[in-house]
């Protein structure tokens, strides 16, 4: 739940300034997935996705909301239980075949052995471990191998995403790219601009890490990419680094959300 920083900062105000910390805030090369809900009601689905992801891939998942969503309210269509995804989990019991650091070939997840299961006694913890056996291991090559393995596991999560939606035409002059709680303000501005005949589309990223596999290709279909965010341009730096696209960062750090009118003015300025 992000709020105006630094430290206690603006405790009741909103900001998106913890993105870099969420994505890169861990010791060493140890990526974790980060999910940013886009509306108050989306918090429900984002949390569901986070739990599903955590248990499928056996990884911590960061759910990155902000003060605007936390203090916001909107009608929420109560889902039928049958709409909720199954979250299957399994626990090994076979002592003959169990290896604590073996991996599921599809997800690269490690097995989840429950303490108390006979014959599966093993040790986990912060020291680097050998692949498969999970014994403490300080070898140089093993460490690099394990770093790459953890990276591949988290990157692989992007394969499970639904295709990225483009609101408006799939290609055009301008794409307004956002993440998190700016969804509503951007949507309002883009709708109004499109109604006025402007060539503008909206793409909103919910899985801010790892990024969707189709995002680069989508962004390449636009002449310009505008990125409003409530920080000094953290997500725009990620997008520039990842796709070498010269995005136009549109930062706002006032503890207040964007209004669709101020975004519309920016869109008009770029397309005018």
């Amino acid at each position: 739940m992000q709020r105006g920083g630094p430290s206690t900062g603006l405790p009741t105000k909103t900001e998106q300034a913890d993105l870099m910390q969420a994505i890169y805030g861990r010791n060493g090369e140890a990526p974790i997935p980060v999910i940013a809900p886009k509306t108050s009601s989306d918090c429900f689905w984002a949390a569901m996705e986070a739990v599903h992801m955590a248990l499928t891939y056996m990884t911590p998942v960061l759910l990155l909301s902000d003060g605007y969503l936390g203090n916001g309210a909107e009608p929420f269509r109560i889902p039928d239980l049958s709409e909720l995804p199954e979250i299957p989990v399994s626990h090994p019991t076979d002592a003959e075949t169990f290896q604590p650091y073996s991996r599921d070939p599809e997800t690269l997840a490690r097995p989840w052995a429950i303490p108390g299961t006979p014959g599966l006694e093993h040790r986990i913890g912060g020291l680097e471990k050998a692949d498969i056996t999970g014994n403490v291991n300080y070898e140089a090559e093993n460490h690099e191998h394990m770093v790459k393995l953890r990276e591949a596991k988290v990157k692989g999560i992007a394969k499970s995403y639904a295709p990225t939606e483009v609101l408006g035409d799939p290609t055009g002059k301008l794409c307004v790219l956002g993440w998190g709680s700016t969804y509503g303000a951007i949507r309002g501005a883009v709708d109004r601009a499109r109604a006025a005949g402007m060539s503008v589309s909206q793409v909103h990223v919910r899985n801010v890490f790892p990024l969707p596999n189709d995002l680069g290709e989508i962004l390449a279909g636009f002449e310009q990419v505008l990125m409003p965010e409530m920080n000094r341009g953290q997500f725009s730096r990620l997008i520039r680094a990842e796709y070498l696209i010269d995005v136009i960062s549109h930062p706002k750090v006032q503890g207040k959300p964007f209004t669709s009118t101020e975004l519309l003015i920016k869109i008009e300025e770029l397309l005018g």
Partner: protein, 330 residues
């Protein structure tokens, strides 16, 4: 079903990486011997540790183990125990991990009284980081980080545990294996949180720091083993004893010694006997300083859940989702 084990059943196949001569070897040996004799299935043990030399302990035990984060072992151990009350959760920590980095976690774990056993290896130094003074180093200790002598007064771990309300508080010594095993067995039998300070020698960075207490030639005179229900007797010939007076603790003959009651007077005697005795006239208290029965947190948590379920039913996700201010759109 009664299970029988040998000590080696509790040894993992990993090479032990403590310095040669470290007191941790003796403790590991004592714990493995003790666990083998408790009649508990091996898979029911979970050893949780923090960070530091002591906290490598889980890797050397052939049980479930979790080498967690600095000072935070009590939080992880609490979670393991609450989720799995039938597991035997033992926590291994050191003076820096438990009392400095994780001081807050430790006192609240003691206050909450989960049925967890905590072994605090106290060597009065940060050994893994090569010898900085720790929260149990005596004032004036010269180390790499206190070349002119440390200025701050140390914690007395026993007094801290008593103050935080631990139901079982004991002290033993790394190399006094029979005593150590006796204390571990008593901790295992105690229902509730057990805090055990183990005086442990760091042979490299703080060698012989407890020599004035544990040296073979003087230890009978410098230690008194507190055994519940027995007289407080000490000395090579077991001819001396301790007696509480209103203002002090006096050395008397063995016959005149008070009987030790670790449950009485809200720990007042335990608090008095653990204070300031190290360099004083009376011997240093070992054994069981405090043992009282208190409500156990995980039992109460599960009882509260059962009570709520009995009153309100199992509950349903559907019910939860449609609770509160809802309406139907047609």
């Amino acid at each position: 079903m009664t299970v029988t084990y040998k000590k080696k059943d509790f040894a993992s196949d990993q090479e032990v990486r403590w310095c040669p001569g470290c007191g941790d070897y003796a403790i590991l040996n004592g714990v493995q011997q003790t666990f083998a004799g408790l009649g508990v299935e091996k898979e029911k043990f979970v050893i949780v540790s923090g960070i530091g030399c002591s906290s490598r302990f889980p890797y050397y035990m052939n049980t479930y183990g979790f080498h967690t984060i600095h000072g935070r072992a009590p939080a992880v151990a609490s979670g393991v125990k609450i989720a799995n009350p039938d597991l035997h959760v033992w926590m291994v920590t050191g003076d820096g991990d438990a009392l400095s980095i994780g001081g807050n976690h430790l006192i609240h774990a003691m206050r909450r009284n989960l049925n967890i056993k905590v072994l605090l290896f106290n060597n009065r130094i940060y050994g893994l980081t090569k010898g900085q003074y720790s929260p149990t180093s005596e004032a004036g200790t010269r180390t790499a980080s206190s070349p002119m002598g440390s200025l701050d007064e140390p914690f007395n771990p026993i007094a801290l545990a008593l103050g935080a309300g631990a139901g079982f508080v004991a002290r033993t010594v790394d190399t006094q294996i029979p005593h150590l095993r006796g204390v571990l067995e008593a901790a295992h039998k105690h229902e509730g949180f057990a805090f055990i300070e183990i005086l442990q020698n760091c042979v490299i960075f703080n060698n012989n720091v407890f020599e004035h207490i544990v040296s073979r030639d003087i230890r009978d005179d410098r230690q008194v083993d507190l055994r519940p229900g027995e007289q407080m007797v000490f000395g090579k010939e077991a001819d001396k004893g301790l007696k509480f007076t209103p203002d002090s603790i006096e050395v008397v003959s063995a016959e005149q010694a008070d009987v030790w009651d670790p449950s009485g007077e809200a720990g007042a005697k335990a608090y008095r006997i653990c204070q300031g005795s190290e360099r004083g006239d009376i011997p240093v208290p070992m054994g069981i300083l405090r043992q009282v029965q208190r409500p156990i947190l995980e039992n109460d948590i599960h009882a509260q859940v059962a009570e709520a379920t009995a009153k309100q039913g199992e509950g349903s996700l559907e019910g939860l989702l449609s609770a509160g201010d809802t309406w139907t759109v047609s």
